[in-house]
């Protein structure tokens, strides 16, 4: 089955842009491990998919090569940062896609485009050959139109890789095999602050409530839970991710790859002019935030505190999984927003990721799958969250719901109303 690959994973001999001008003319001399595994599995890569520059964004508007659009409404964003992959799968350009999820960049576009998206456990899929954004959070994962396809694709790309020191040295279980075992007696914790929270669109709440009913009628035991530290997760993320980004993106200095500003009088001027010309505004904002948060006098107050919040988030998850097998909520507080709507307000854009970020901070697994259309006719994503290495469990719950839900509509892209 053909696949659209987020243009932040290297293919030997094929131009890789990461949506950035700073990689102008960059042709990687090696394959990423994910690409190697896809070749081994006989999956043809039909194209490289657009993204927010270096995977920084929630709308795919931050690409130096122009925005991607949502197949459900071309005036709206597909989400991001893996918006190109999500839109390609939603529009039927390819049945499979690969994205990366640092703070929700697979799940949120999957939700906004009405497809399945999986954020695997940190370390389950090799990051070798992935251009790094925030190394303690980045994770590669699948997009597909069905849960079964997503499970098959994850089986194909997961597994230990000695080229990635953070790769988990464990066998990948066969996810597809356990898909049909049902949810009877399974304890599902509804994250109540998310379902009815402030800023959550009524149509999103309604669709998620209907999905909860459906799981309940399938025999799952439904309870409610509140996780107090989660309200600090977004703040912590927007300190940790920029800090790691400022360090990772120091390598784009005009020396080894990509854009170099001409006629600089010395190497520092060359670095400054190349970086200034090559990076877009959002990447610059995050480099600046990270540099500031890591600078002398602010490190403890910002970066140190954020790392402590990360511990609190992990503890809250651990406590929740004493009571529940999986947690459930919406993937995104709203359906797809209009192109340009949040472009000048970075903080409003960041708030899109409020339900997806905790799983990244905890290195845990989560999945988004379509649960119907909201009052505005746009797709809503149901998010299932589990502890690290719970992919098999999440696929099982997602599959049970998907079977009960029935097939979803295709986007009205080809002239249908």
């Amino acid at each position: 089955m053909p696949l659209a690959l987020k243009d932040i994973l290297c293919i030997d001999g094929v131009r890789t842009t990461a949506g950035s001008k700073i990689l102008e003319g960059y042709v990687p001399p090696y394959d990423s491990t994910v690409v190697k595994k896809l070749r081994g599995a006989g999956v043809p890569i039909v194209g490289k998919a657009n993204l927010d520059e270096f995977a920084m964004g929630s709308s795919t508007e931050n690409s130096a090569y122009g925005p991607s659009r949502n197949p459900w409404d071309l005036a709206r964003v597909p989400g991001g940062s893996s918006g190109g992959s999500a839109a390609a799968v939603s529009a039927g350009f390819a049945p499979l896609g690969i994205g990366t999820d640092t703070g929700g960049s697979i799940r949120q576009p999957a939700s906004l485009c009405g497809v399945v998206g999986v954020k695997p456990t940190y370390g389950l899929v090799s990051r070798y050959g992935l251009l790094a954004f925030a190394s303690s959070l980045d994770q590669v994962g699948p997009f597909a139109r069905t849960v079964e396809d997503a499970a098959l694709l994850l089986e194909a790309i997961a597994g230990h890789d000695r080229m990635d020191a953070t790769s988990i040295p464990e066998e990948v279980p066969p996810y597809v095999k356990g898909l049909e075992s049902g949810v009877k007696g399974l304890r599902v914790g509804v994250v109540s602050d998310w379902v009815e929270g402030e800023g959550v669109q009524p149509g999103v709440t309604e669709r998620v409530r209907a999905a909860i009913e459906s799981l309940s009628s399938l025999g799952a035991e439904i309870g409610e839970i509140s996780l107090p530290s989660f309200r600090y997760a977004l703040s912590a993320y927007y300190l940790i991710a920029p800090a790691e980004c400022s360090s990772n993106l120091a390598r784009y200095d005009g020396v080894r790859w990509g854009l170099r500003a001409p006629e600089a009088k010395d190497v520092v001027e060359m670095n400054v002019r190349s970086r200034t010309a090559g990076f877009g505004d959002e990447v610059k904002r995050r480099i600046m935030l990270g540099t500031y948060a890591l600078s002398a006098g602010y490190y403890d107050a910002y970066y140190g505190k954020a790392q402590q919040v990360r511990t609190l988030v992990i503890r809250d998850f651990e406590k929740a999984y004493e009571r529940f097998d999986v947690l459930l909520g919406p993937t995104s507080p709203t359906t797809a927003f209009k192109i340009g709507e949040k472009a000048d307000d970075p903080l409003a854009m960041y708030l899109n990721d409020v339900f997806t970020i905790p799983s990244n901070l905890a290195g845990a697994a989560a999945i988004s799958l379509p649960c119907g259309l909201a009052e505005d006719g746009l797709p809503v994503g149901l998010q299932l969250l589990g502890p690290p290495m719970s992919e098999g469990l999440l696929f099982k719950v997602a599959y049970a719901y998907e079977q009960a839900r029935g097939p979803v509509d295709a986007p009205p892209l080809w002239g249908r109303s």
Partner: protein, 97 residues
């Protein structure tokens, strides 16, 4: 925490970026907004909480120090803007004496 234009210019120097006056004002405003939101975490009482730099338990990964296949020099240099005698070439680093 509000950032002024001079602080933004200072951070830009650290990050090897340069901004126009208009950009300095815009970034000062946007970064101040984001930091004001991030200040939620600075207010949190966390005395007894260990920081997490990595979510999952990780151990050092060791392997025997054996020579394996690696990128040939020509391929490693193939992506560089400027190359000379098998090396990356950059503009001058030091002043002429």
């Amino acid at each position: 925490m509000a950032l002024d234009r001079e602080q933004v210019a200072h951070v830009a120097r650290l990050a090897r970026l340069s901004f126009t006056d208009e950009e300095l004002d815009r970034f000062a405003h946007q970064l101040s907004d984001i930091l004001a939101y991030a200040d939620q975490v600075t207010a949190l009482a966390t005395e007894d909480v260990q920081p997490t730099s990595h979510a999952l338990p990780l151990k050092n990964v060791f392997r025997p120090d054996e020579i394996g296949p690696c990128l040939p020099q020509e391929k490693a240099l193939s992506t560089a803007p400027e190359v000379e005698e098998g090396r990356f070439k950059v503009p001058r680093i030091m002043e002429e004496p």
